[in-house]
Amino acid sequence: MIHVEGISKRYQLGVERHDKLWDMWVHKARRMFSGGQRATDTDSDHFWALKDVSFDVAEGEVVGIIGRNGAGKSTLLKILSRITPPTEGQIRLKGRVASLLEVGTGFHPELSGRENVFMNGAILGMSRAEIKAKFDEIVAFSEVEKFIDTAVKHYSSGMYVRLAFAVAAHLEPEILVVDEVLAVGDSAFQRKCIGRMGDVASAGRTVLFVSHNLGMVQTLCKRAVLLSEGRVVTSGEVGAVLEDYTTMLSENEVLAHTRFDIDPEKRGQLLEASLHDRNGEPCGRFDVFDPIMLTVTYTLREPIEGAALNLVVYRNTELLFVSFDTDRAPELLHAREPGTYQATVQLPGPLKAGNYDVALSIGILNMGGVDSRPEALRFVVSEYSFDTSKKSYCAQRPGPMAADLEWSLQRQGNH
């Protein structure tokens, strides 16, 4: 269905470009006088955004394309959508291709919702008859029926996005190439969109989905391709590829100690955070059963009612748990005097092998934040001290949490 073979894309770096006619003539004249030598292409003049990328997508498959910023995802999307040609290689596609690199391409603020539906539909490759037939459905999906004859410039951004997505959601190509456009709108509408994507997928359409949102990739895709520095690192079953990706994300990237910038304007502030092993040494790599100690220092500059330190721990970008330093000391919520506090806690264990992110913030319970550090610390838990392959909490098994439970077993007679 989609056959990508040895795709490479080279971009010229700014060295040899002449954006002004004058520059070009000057350059040509210089070259003429210097004996007509042509500057030879050197490696420093260009860079490869994609290098020898190959993969296949079967009919009806939903494949996620993941990778960090700059890994080549958008370049691959642009080549697949025929916006820019590859430098080398070939892609064969069977069937109608629609690409959604943004929602509302071609929307014009002066036109009404109705007119824009036809405009946008035509741009996405729908015929007028097709749009007419689906018009009511599109409008119903967008939930902007009442304003469909109002100029789009009067829409709220939410309405705008809903209408734009509604058109895109009713495309029926054989192959759909989607960028992260789904990450739009309020969460209820987002769920609706994800549902619609799921429908598209189960209707047997081939979908290529480029995203940062690993949760979404996991829900929608069966297979994934991981790109890094323009090359395919792994491709295959989505779970395995995502695991590779999260490993890659955190390789050499533990952050066992962080000192935060001071902002005296804030009413309260995080100062320092660190992770320690059982000996009190700073440490970012742990074994499954190692105790993990967390220390956070923070200051409150004025008496704040209801202030608490919030600890959020993610495993492989998935939220694992939330904890407050006031959970067991509710009296602190009433009268918290200004001053510097040091909070120490042992993280619950065992933790399943994986990559962990720690987000810290000072918040006023049920009111809002005072200081927030979403990427305060990172650590890795791995299984090196003993073989977990026969344990329930082996990293490859499903579930985010290791539950090393005390089962009691009694033999109740024999047969």
Binding site: Y11, Q12, R17, H18, D19, K20, L21, W22, M24, K78, I79, L80, S81, R82, I83, T84, P85, P86, T87, E88, G89, Q90, I91, R92, L93, K94, G95, R96, V97, S99, L101, E102, T105, G106, H108, E110, L111, E115, F118, M119, A122, I123, L124, G125, M126, S127, R128, E130, E174
Partner: protein, 278 residues
């Protein structure tokens, strides 16, 4: 577009310059119409007078230029009232000039669209000629009404000569415009150059003065400007008292066609690198 379900698309490196694929262009005709309709309707949507501007524009121009050049500077216009003489010149010129400017600028101004979705790129410059064309058609009706009001009757030749003139001006504007639109991607100087050409070009065309003011021996050179032929054709057919255009002027049809081919070539050559440069 609906019939492409089983077709195979091959995406491969851009090699060489290929002619336009007309079958593909045909399959995108609905998009072209949609873009044309968008540009035309947006243009008049927010103005209080709407389409009236297409009428007011030539009328006001005719009034102002008639006062300056007809009454004050006493520019000769033969036995045709100066306002009519001027209108028959300014309408083809304005059509050519605004089509040229819009086509030259089309790829840059539609960048948001062109970097997000695929369709044959040439649709964009084609659609850009629509608004100038609609304006010209309305203006021609104004000219016709004004002629009849003056008690003059256009010759029957106007039935073919005026449309032919528009096609000629369209081909010329598209050809030169395609060259500029391709250059404009890499060299933004073009954005400065085109308004200049448009302003100077009006004086290099017989818009405010008659062709007869150009010395006979230089008319061949002057006539290389295709708009000269278009204007002469229009004046001759609209006002039966004017002598038929000098056949030498038809030579510039060759110039127009040359630019059309050159423009198409430059456009196709630029197309592949468009998204990387814009």
């Amino acid at each position: 577009m609906t019939s492409r379900a089983d077709t195979e698309t091959v995406i491969s490196p851009a090699t060489g310059v290929h002619p336009f694929r007309f079958s593909e262009l045909w399959s995108f005709r609905e998009l072209l119409l949609q873009l044309v309709w968008r540009d035309v309707s947006v243009r008049y949507k927010q103005t209080a007078l709407g389409l009236m501007w297409a009428v007011l524009n030539p009328v006001l121009m005719a009034v102002i230029f008639s006062i300056i050049f007809g009454i004050w500077a006493r520019m000769p216009s033969g036995d045709i009232p100066y306002p009519l003489f001027f209108l028959a010149g300014i309408i083809p010129w304005t059509f050519f000039a605004s089509a040229l400017a819009d086509v030259s600028n089309s790829l840059v101004s539609q960048r948001a669209l062109l970097t997000k979705v695929y369709f044959p790129r040439v649709i964009t410059p084609l659609a850009a000629t629509a608004v100038p064309l609609v304006d010209a058609l309305v203006a021609i009706l104004v000219l016709l009404a004004a002629t009849l009001l003056k008690g003059m009757v256009p010759s029957w030749h106007a039935l073919w000569a005026v449309p032919l003139g528009l096609v000629w001006a369209w081909v010329s504007a598209l050809g030169v415009g395609l060259c500029f639109s391709a250059l404009n991607i890499k060299y933004r100087d073009v954005g400065q150059l085109v308004p200049f050409i448009v302003r100077v070009g009006m004086f290099a065309s017989p818009v405010i003065y008659p062709l007869s003011m150009i010395p006979e021996k230089w008319q061949w050179l002057y006539g290389l400007n295709p708009v000269v032929g278009v204007i002469e054709l229009t004046r001759w057919s609209m006002f039966s008292t004017v002598t038929p255009p000098n056949p030498a002027l038809y030579g510039s049809v060759g110039i127009s066609l040359f630019f059309l081919v050159l423009g198409a070539y430059m456009f196709r050559r630029m197309e592949a690198t468009y998204a990387d440069l814009v």
